[in-house]
């Protein structure tokens, strides 16, 4: 194209552009937007129309009582109601559950507290237990020590027992020796007393010869009777009291003197002699009175006559018996105890041969009516009870025994009295037994 053409072409183009600006560009965007809006509006209108139509339809359906929707509505309402009720129920239950939870929490708390308390107490118990165990240990150990001490003490005790027994032996020996010596002393004293008596008699003879003669004659007669009677039934008496007849003879002779004073003197002398001897010399006493008793038993049935004869013999009416009524050997060894029965004319004797023997004096037999055994050592003392049914005997075996008289059987025995019941007086009291140990 030529330049000219370009020129008018440019003109044309420019004018076209101008035209476009004026006519087109001003409106283009706006019109496009407008169209879009119109489209949108149309769409909305159509939707609106549709919805209103539907609405109308529904309203028509509702107003004309459409059963379908109505029934559906009713059922829906019912369902809604049911749901609401369920909801309230669930709320209630929830509340209850939460309440329960609270309660349970409280309980759990309490349980926890209890548990802690129990734990505390358990702990305390355990500590106490431990303490007690320790104490027990201590006690055990102390017990062991005590046992040891005990054993040592027992050993000491046995040792002491042995020593004691040995000492006892020694004591017995010493006692025997003592007795022997006392006897000798007595003999010597008796001799002295005889000598004194002779001196007295000589004095009396000098002063009151008549009184003396009667007395001495009476005495002589009594003595003779006694000798006659005793010769018939007399057992050899133990040598120890052999000196006693002499004494007895001499003693009645003493009675021939002035009554009061002689009696007193004699009694005093005899009492003195008895006192000097009595503690250690039962056999002397029993031997002395044995003779007298023998005499008594022999004349029991005929008391008066016997008494007369005894008087004649010089036994009764006199303070000191001078004649031996009966003499018999009671035991193989020493006789320690003698007792009259309160109800019968019976004598019980106890001796070193461990036996208690009952003698019928009335019958005057030389054999014992009964022999009561059971003791394991010498009998020291015997006694009857007030009824005469029982006999009590004490012995050297630390024991006391009771026999019945009727059947001669051992009834009771007390052993281990802890005392060496040496020579002791046993006496039946109305309700008890009195044991008086006369020895150590």
């Amino acid at each position: 194209m030529s330049a000219e053409e370009c020129l008018w072409r440019e003109h044309v183009v420019q004018r076209l552009r101008e035209r476009d600006r004026k006519e087109c560009e001003n409106f283009k965007e706006i019109i496009v937007q407008n169209n879009r809006l119109i489209d949108h509006v149309a769409q909305l209108k159509s939707d609106n129309l549709k919805l209103s139509v539907e609405n109308e339809q529904l309203r028509n359906a509702v107003s004309t009582g459409g059963t379908g929707p109505n029934v559906a509505i009713a059922t829906l309402e019912k369902k809604l109601l049911a749901q609401q009720e369920e909801l309230t129920d669930l709320h209630k239950r929830k509340g209850e559950h939460s309440q329960m939870i609270v309660d349970l929490n409280l309980k759990v708390e309490q349980q926890k507290e209890l548990l802690s308390e129990k734990e505390h107490s358990l702990y305390d118990q355990q500590t106490a237990n431990n303490r007690l165990r320790a104490e027990v240990q201590l006690l055990h150990s102390s017990l062991e020590e005590l046992k040891k001490l005990n054993t040592t003490l027992l050993d000491e005790h046995t040792a002491l027992q042995l020593a004691f027994s040995s000492l006892e032996e020694k004591l017995r020996k010493v006692q025997d020796e003592n007795r022997y010596l006392l006897e000798r002393l007595m003999r010597y004293r008796a001799k002295d007393a005889d000598k004194l008596n002779e001196e007295n008699e000589s004095l009396i003879r000098k002063r009151l010869p008549s009184l003396f003669r009667k007395r001495s004659a009476k005495l002589k007669r009594d003595l003779e009777d006694a000798v006659r009677e005793s010769n018939s039934a007399v057992n050899p008496i133990v040598p120890a009291p052999s000196g006693t007849p002499l004494h007895r003879n001499s003693s009645p002779a003493q009675f021939g003197g002035p009554a009061g004073s002689d009696d007193e003197i004699d009694e005093a002398s005899i009492n003195g002699a008895m006192e000097a001897l009595a503690m250690n010399d039962d056999e002397y006493i029993s031997a002395r009175f044995m003779g007298g008793e023998a005499v008594h038993d022999g004349v029991r049935p005929n008391i008066n006559t016997s008494i007369d004869t005894l008087k004649a013999a010089g036994y009764l009416g006199q303070p000191n018996p001078t004649k031996i009524f009966m003499k018999f050997e009671a035991h193989e060894n020493e006789s320690h105890a003698v007792r009259w029965s309160p109800v019968e004319r019976m004598v019980a004797t106890g001796g070193a041969d461990r036996k208690v023997k009952l003698w019928d004096v009335g019958k005057g037999s030389t054999e014992p009516r009964a022999v009561l055994s059971g003791s394991s050592a010498g009998i020291n003392s015997v006694d009857f009870d007030s009824t005469g049914a029982y006999i009590l005997g004490t012995s050297n075996d630390y024991g006391a025994r009771v026999w019945t008289v009727m059947d001669n059987r051992l009834r009771l025995a007390w052993l281990g009295l802890g005392l060496d019941l040496g020579p002791c007086l046993s006496d039946y009291l109305p309700n008890a037994i009195l044991l008086l140990p006369l020895a150590l």
Binding site: V12, R15, L16, E18, R19, E23, C24, K28, N35
Partner: protein
């Protein structure tokens, strides 16, 4: 040869804003809002107003809805077979910045004034007739008769679907010079004046006697009579410079129907 693509493009893309309004007599119920639309200058009214018709149909009485649609501007019914740009340039006042307000009618089709070219088929046949007429003028009808039916379809479809390339692929052939010459045999042109829809067709040759290419000045001289003198030409909404060559103009500034539609300004002597 239409090789000035830029100009072709600008011509093709020319648009006008139109404001369609409903006939108040025909409205039933709510008054519709005016419908605005950008339309191509090169298109025809029935082709672009389907949407408008749909839009306004809702607001008019039932009995009119199926009636023939026609348009008018300020009482002047608009020819349906004229390109919109032509109508616009003829009727629209010059210095108005607002869209062109047209009233759409559904009833009372003015049978005397308008031809009922309101269907696409009718328009297509009219368009092809114009095309053939133009080609006869340009090439004695050789080119158009050499084309097949599908080419004609392609032209028409390109026009109504606004497909520049599709249209000009075929239209180029119609813009070829005649035989060995550099121009057409005659220029297909229609002259409008006096705000009237009647046009004048004259046999115009692109070359003057000397064999040079004519320009508008020459054309002005040709059209001027002693009574009145042509002073200016307008088309496509612009005033054309005098130096513009006719051949070039026919190639580039023709409407799709291959005619130049020029408005002539006369000055009475």
């Amino acid at each position: 040869m239409a090789h000035d693509r830029e100009v072709l493009r600008m011509i093709w893309e020319g648009q006008i804003g139109i404001c369609f309004q409903a006939d108040s007599e025909e409205i039933v119920g709510l008054r519709p809002e005016p419908f605005y639309l950008m339309v191509s200058r090169l298109s025809y009214l029935p082709l672009v107003t389907d949407k408008v018709r749909k839009y306004f149909t809702r607001y008019i009485a039932a009995e009119h809805q199926e009636g023939a649609v026609w348009f008018d501007f300020n009482g002047t019914p608009l020819r349906l077979h004229y390109p919109i740009g032509v109508l616009y340039d003829l009727l629209h006042p010059n210095e108005d910045g607002t869209p062109w307000c047209i009233t759409i009618h559904f009833s009372k089709f003015p049978e005397e004034t308008l031809v009922k070219l309101n269907t696409k088929e009718l328009l297509e046949s009219h368009y092809l007739a114009c095309l053939k007429e133009a080609d006869v003028l340009k090439h004695r009808g050789l080119v158009i008769s050499a084309m097949q039916k599908k080419d004609h379809n392609q032209l028409w479809l390109g026009l109504i679907n606004d497909k520049f390339d599709q249209f000009w692929a075929i239209n180029r052939r119609l813009m070829e010079p005649y035989n060995d010459q550099e121009s057409f045999k005659n220029i297909p042109v229609r002259f409008y004046y006096d705000d009237d829809f009647t046009y004048m067709q004259k046999l115009i040759s692109p070359l003057n006697e000397a064999g040079q290419k004519k320009n508008l000045a020459d054309l002005m001289a040709e059209l001027s009579t002693p009574v009145r003198r042509a002073v200016g030409f307008r088309t496509h909404g612009i005033v054309l410079p005098e130096e513009t060559q006719l051949q070039w103009m026919s190639e580039h500034m023709s409407y799709p129907d291959n005619f130049l539609h020029l408005s002539v300004d006369y000055v009475t002597e």
